[in-house]
Amino acid sequence: MKKSIHAKLLPYLFLTPTLILMAVFSYYAIGNAVYTSFTDSAFGVSSRMVGFTNYIAAFKDEMFLTSFKNQAIITVTAVFNSVFFPLLASEILFFIKHKKVASFFKTAFVIPMLIPQIVTILIWKYLYNPNFGFNSILRALGMGGLTHNWLNEKSTALICIILIGFPFISSMYFLIMHTGLNAIGDELYEAAIVDGATSMEVVRYIHLPNIKSYIKVVVTLSLIGSLSGFGLIAATTGGGPGYSTMIPALQMYKIAFGDGKFGYASALGVVLFIVIILLTLASRKLLGEEE
């Protein structure tokens, strides 16, 4: 089918708003960051080019390197949580017979999404408070020996950060999984029922293969989200104790706005950016490319 000029240009036309916004707000910023990373730009001083000095310092920076280790743990668990729990909830909802009941549960899972993160943080901070929360429960159950100063001990701080937000259902990922499950055609499902398949078999042979694209999207989004966000850690431990919960994004923020060292912070940012790109590409390859 031959395409007219009009049809050929249409895709680019449709993409114009996106591309312009991206160029102005995003690509200018990353370009600026790359340029700055090769200077010693700091607040209040004019900058000079310093070549790779910042990058060399970054790779010698013990805290920066440790923060990547922490980040790895946090990201792997975050991606898992973003896929597993929403999928679990969606699956259970799928098998509920009464549509009204299922709808009620779905709404109930979505509403907490509207609660801002700060409230969740406050509640979990209370639970981790050495004088209240979990420790009180442990003491009441006679297991006082298991109490810890959860957020302030190096051995427990990171794990506690990861657990914040349990059960991780109330999120966009749940909506995506739910959409995905319900988008699978009814005939497949009914054919399976006729063949006498159990719920577990339905899940394994019908659901999982057909929502692969949705799982891939969730993995990509949660991967990127986990690598860029630092609000949670900033509000709970600030990277401490020591730097057992420090992540690259937080360190970069502190250096940029706390010390005003834009040059070094930009270098850290560029390194982080490259790592994110590599990880995302790797994960997409792993989950299989589409057509």
């Binding site: 209040g44 050495p130 004088n131 990277g239 401490g240 502190k254 706005f257 010390d259 005003g260």
Partner: protein
């Protein structure tokens, strides 16, 4: 479906109406105890509520009254924000051609981000006009406000002090301040400029739970040794954390350092042969020697940042004096909460209010909050409390003097951002004078209190009076004499943001007894050195006080 939506809308409408009604009544007379003075009513004791300052007759505006302009006052929440909004309102009545906007920002971190971002543009067109100057200093290395003036960010108010204040009957701007306060501004900023004017003072004290003290037959301690003893007694009585302390505990460290270093204070003062020497303001520095009989004797002395930096770079942080300070600090520090360095004040105050910790080390700016909180406790959660200060050693250890001086320094530090437009600057300065006049400051304080917020500490502007009860409470925070700040030499609060986790980690391991004082100082040395090198480079210090320094461009 339609029915459900209608039901929701109805519910929403009812909820909104109900809450409008509820908020309509019970407006002014807020719940007892919201007022820092503890008074049940919102009105202070002083006769009439403050009138707004008015310009003296015959004052001519230094700007074009025909043109409209906007000035922006950027403040952090709880720094007299209600008072400032009222001042803005009253000022606009006097000068309708100037719009005064009060931009409130919720916390220190967000404020720093905003300052750095809005000042990153050289033209500073859209930067705010009146800001917390110390934050601009923080963003530049060495916390140096002098550097901020050198680089053109902040406006030096030295000349303004000699100008007339139309809102104070044309008296000089400087007249409402005590001379030692003005000297203190000079000393705190680095000895060259006055980037801000004094407004209030904040101090620190120990809060204690009277009920618990009585229960265990404990007397209120008066010396440092006694506080340590009390902590041990409380620990033996079963209190895991006898003294709830947070990040502010560094002030305690400085108090101890002050008892050591003031004996050789003359080494760190600006000397007549220095480039920064100014006969009129630094006369006290000449041949100075600290006199223990007069703990206030250095109130007119001006410290030299370059001398302190030189000392720091030459000696590092592991000096015998610092070792003595940290050893002494540990005697009390071992009773602090586990991760006290990173603990938020909210947490520490909560521990005191829930009676988990019988004592609390906190600042005057939270006294009002604690007062109102505890007033709201009832039944067996309520308890009586008071504050005490520690003014001396019983037997000072070697190297220490007997008297202990505490932090008593300016809390609210407001500077003017220097912009090119002289018409605009004239307006900003005029508003500043409006605020820093006796009537303006009085209005600010009273409006803050009326709105159920708390004041940070007593006002240093002459002529401002507060209620007796409030003055009484705040007096509990004033020490026998104010300490000087030795952080540049002890390394406290002197680390880059990037190094803070390492710094905190080392100190915590020390107070938890995982490393000893030598180990601590060894770990702190590189951090201290990093900071000093950055400061030296940014300030362009050549470490010779006799010569001028050129800050890095």
């Amino acid at each position: 479906m339609k029915r459900r939506n209608r039901a929701i809308s109805l519910l929403l409408a009812t909820a909104m109406t109900l809450s409008m009604v509820l908020s309509g009544c019970g407006n002014s007379a807020s719940d007892g105890g919201q007022n820092a003075g503890g008074a049940k009513s919102a009105q202070p004791d002083t006769a009439a509520s403050a009138a707004a300052p008015a310009p003296a007759d015959g004052t001519e505006a230094a700007w074009d009254t025909g043109k409209e302009d906007t000035i922006i006052l950027s403040v952090i929440n709880n720094f007299y924000t209600a008072g400032e909004k009222k001042l803005a309102e009253e000022y606009m009545k006097l000068h309708p051609e100037t719009k005064v906007v009060v931009d409130v920002i919720s916390d220190n971190d967000a404020y720093l981000t905003k300052m750095v971002t809005s000042l990153s543009d050289d033209k500073k067109e859209n930067a705010p006009d009146i800001v917390h100057g110390n934050f601009v200093g923080m963003a530049l290395t060495n916390n140096s406000m002098d550097l901020a003036v050198d680089k053109g960010y902040l406006y030096d108010m030295t000349e303004m002090l000699d100008e007339e204040n139309p809102y104070n009957g044309n008296a000089k701007v400087a007249d409402v301040f005590e001379t030692d306060d003005l000297t203190r501004v000079l000393s705190n900023s680095g000895g060259k400029y006055r980037p801000y004017l004094p407004f209030d003072k904040i101090g620190f004290a120990f809060f204690y739970n009277k009920n618990i003290f009585e229960e265990h037959n404990i007397q209120v301690p008066e010396t440092y040794e006694e506080v340590v003893e009390v902590c041990q007694k409380l620990k033996d009585a079963g209190y895991d954390v006898p003294l709830s302390a947070g990040y502010e505990s560094f002030r305690l460290g400085n108090t101890l350092a002050d008892a050591i270093y003031r004996a050789k204070e003359e080494e760190f003062l600006i000397q007549p042969e220095d480039a920064l020497w100014d006969e009129t303001t630094m006369a006290s520095n000449k041949d100075f020697k600290f006199d223990e009989a007069q703990p206030n004797c250095d109130q007119f002395c001006v410290l030299s940042p370059e001398r302190m930096l030189k000392y720091g770079i030459e000696n590092g942080v592991d000096t015998p004096e610092n070792k003595a300070m940290w050893t002494e600090f540990q005697k009390l520090g071992q009773y602090f909460p586990k991760n006290w360095i990173a603990a938020e004040s909210t947490q520490c105050i909560a521990d005191f209010e829930s009676q988990i910790s019988p004592m609390l080390y906190q600042a005057s700016f939270n006294a009002g909050l604690i007062l109102s909180d505890i007033n709201q406790l009832s039944g067996d959660m309520a308890f009586e409390w008071a504050t005490f200060q520690i003014n001396s050693f019983e037997n000072p250890p070697e190297g220490f003097q007997k008297d202990l001086r505490s932090y008593w320094d300016f809390g609210n530090i407001m500077s003017i951002i220097h912009k090119e437009d002289s018409d605009h600057m004239a307006r900003v300065k005029d508003f500043y004078k409006f605020w820093y006049s006796p009537q303006g400051a009085q209005l600010c304080y009273e409006e803050t209190l009326t709105n159920g917020n708390y004041v940070q500490g007593p006002c240093v502007i002459k002529g401002v009076t507060l209620s007796e009860e409030l003055e009484g409470i705040l007096a509990g925070f004033e020490p026998v004499a104010p300490s000087k700040e030795w952080n540049s030499i002890t390394g406290l609060e002197r680390s880059n943001q990037a190094d803070i986790p390492k710094f905190n980690d080392a100190v915590i391991r020390y107070t938890n007894k995982e490393i000893d004082v030598d180990g601590l100082l060894k770990e702190l040395n590189p951090i201290y050195s990093n900071y000093n090198q950055d400061a030296k480079t940014a300030g362009g210090y050549d470490l010779d006080p006799a010569t001028d320094d050129t800050p890095k461009e």
